[in-house]
Amino acid sequence: MITAPMFKRFATFLLRLASLVGFETVWAQGKVQLTIESWRTDDLKIWRDTILPAFMKKNPNIEVVFSPTAPTEYNAVLSAKLKAGTAGDLVTCRPFDKSLEIYDAGQLVALNDLPGMDNFSELAKAAWTTDDGKTTFAVPMASVIHGFLYNKAIFKELGLDVPKTEKEFLAVLDKIKANGKYIPLVIGTKDQWESATMGYQNIGPTLWDGETGRKDLIKGSAKYNQGGFLAAFDALAKWRPYLGPGYQALAYADSQNLFAQGRGAIYPAGSWDIGVLRQMNPKLDLGAFKPYTFESKTECIIDDHPDIALGLNAASKNKEAARTFLSWIASAEFAQLYANALPGFFPLANVKYTLDDPVAQEFVNWRKDNKASFRCSYQILSRNANPNNENDLWNACAQILNGTETAQQAADIVQKNLASWYKPQQGT
């Protein structure tokens, strides 16, 4: 039986609860909290101490929290949170299919009309745009750029100049090889992906005319075993005589270490390597040169690969504040902060920013003078489980460098496997 005092107590409790909730609402009206989902656990400190305070100073009524999950678990955790409706307001997006799936499931918002979106080129947005090219659903944050790093001290010692063409490149390698003291070209084939990513996709865009070739491949009018794509396999095969002893069993970390220790002269790189190498050996005299040109193709096209973006959770209750934040992500202020906090990850917005690291700055400078494209297998072509185009490229490029397949053989296999499931490649 409920007694009067009990009822009174219960009623007071309810009232208090109500007032608490009310207080919460008032508080929330004063200050909106946004949460960012991300896999970049490494960058927690940079976001918390550098990037977010800069935004919150300008927008005192928005509080942003960076809440990352371990990279290997991110995809699973995010999809579970999105399903349960507990995911943060802002979602860090991996490039291409992984994010497209989330958008197609209705869990991300289209951002075509976001102020600041016109700061990005079509190329920069491609990784977070639907197949028809009409809807963009995330604000591009950063890309990585491919090129070559070299040891300036060794170049000076041997009196070498930075090569610009394939002929000069091979001549430089010949000289380093003849000297015998250093490994001319530091790359191993054991982990396979460097052969494709730092090799094929690095020097390839110049040969297949960048975006033209990449789009033709998707349309089915270009093929891996013809034209520029075949030429890129051929060009890669020319690296073989200059690799270090036992390169077939050298892993990626081994190559990084060899180069950081000054045992090799030239290192086919991704821009993220800059930070890693600087940490391994701060005294390393690092220089960079862009992918070389060829007799048949004299215009260098760089690989500017989109890597990370920020999307808006469709279930977010604070969409207005989130959009304010996303517009800021597209701004020059963010670009300047982010680029310097993470040398090697380059903001994609067409705004001016300068980098403290001269080598990283060198990489960004290439954007001004050169056209760009990105890895040819990443959009649409690697959707199939077996055969998978990206895995095929890894294997093919590693086989070419190992000398177990010729460029033509490797190209034929990659093409045959792609055509086995990809309709546009099945015509004549």
Binding site: D191, N388, N417
Partner: protein, 305 residues
Amino acid sequence: MSRRRPFPVHILVFLAPAVLIYTLFMIYPLFDSLWLSLNNKTPAGGSVFVGVQNYQTMFGQDLWAKPFWNALRNNALFFAIHMFVQNPIGLLFAALLGTRIRGTRIYRTIIFTPTILSVVIIGFVWKLILNPAWGISRGVLMTFGLGSLDTPWLGLESTALVTLSLISVWQNIGIPMMLFLAALIRIPEDLLEAARVDGAGAWKIFWRVQFPLILPTVGIVSVLTFVGNFNAFELIYATQGALAGPNFASDILGTLFFRTFFGYQLQPADPYMGSAIAGIMLLIILTGVLIYLFGWQRRLQEIRY
């Protein structure tokens, strides 16, 4: 007339926990994965029953059949090396440790130690030892004037799988050694003494007395090796990655299953075909175990000392 005993209900009570746990964590997942292998995804993303179509694809389409036969061939070689290198050497060690050599305990411990280490550590250590840039294998070979033998063992199609098999042998040799040793120790001294009195030498005693008496253990070790090897995965994954390079030269059923079921890098996961591979692995292991049960164990006489 004796009364019929009541049904022993307490036996059910005692069995229940084990049966429940085993059913929940072993039998149910097993049948669920077999069921999964009989389904496939619809274009809309749902799943639909397709009968044995996944298995037909696996054997009928070159794109699946070639990697599968490659993995099976590699797995067979992986097993053969364990069977004909690990187990005989394990037996040899056991026989030596069974004699009165000094320091048998120390040897026994040293040989058994790698077995209890994590595979990830084993993979990492051997990757370092064999590393062409800073590994010690080159230096060691040079010391013995064998520098010309130095090659990137894990990087060549011709050597990768054999090297990995031998690393695995090095790690696991303690297990057959211990099992053989336990069996050898159980043989009563008077049998050996009788043989000695009859004038048999150590060699003859081993082959005519000891070996026949440990045949049941030989069978057990073989079947354990078989099951372990056809389920193997970790060492290859830890040293060569999921693509089991170079050019799939070290790809075994476990790594093929992993890539297919869970996907890798840009390769999307295909749980249906992955389950089909798991189903075939189950069939292979089941066949091996049945051959052992009916072809070997039934013929053995029980030996009582």
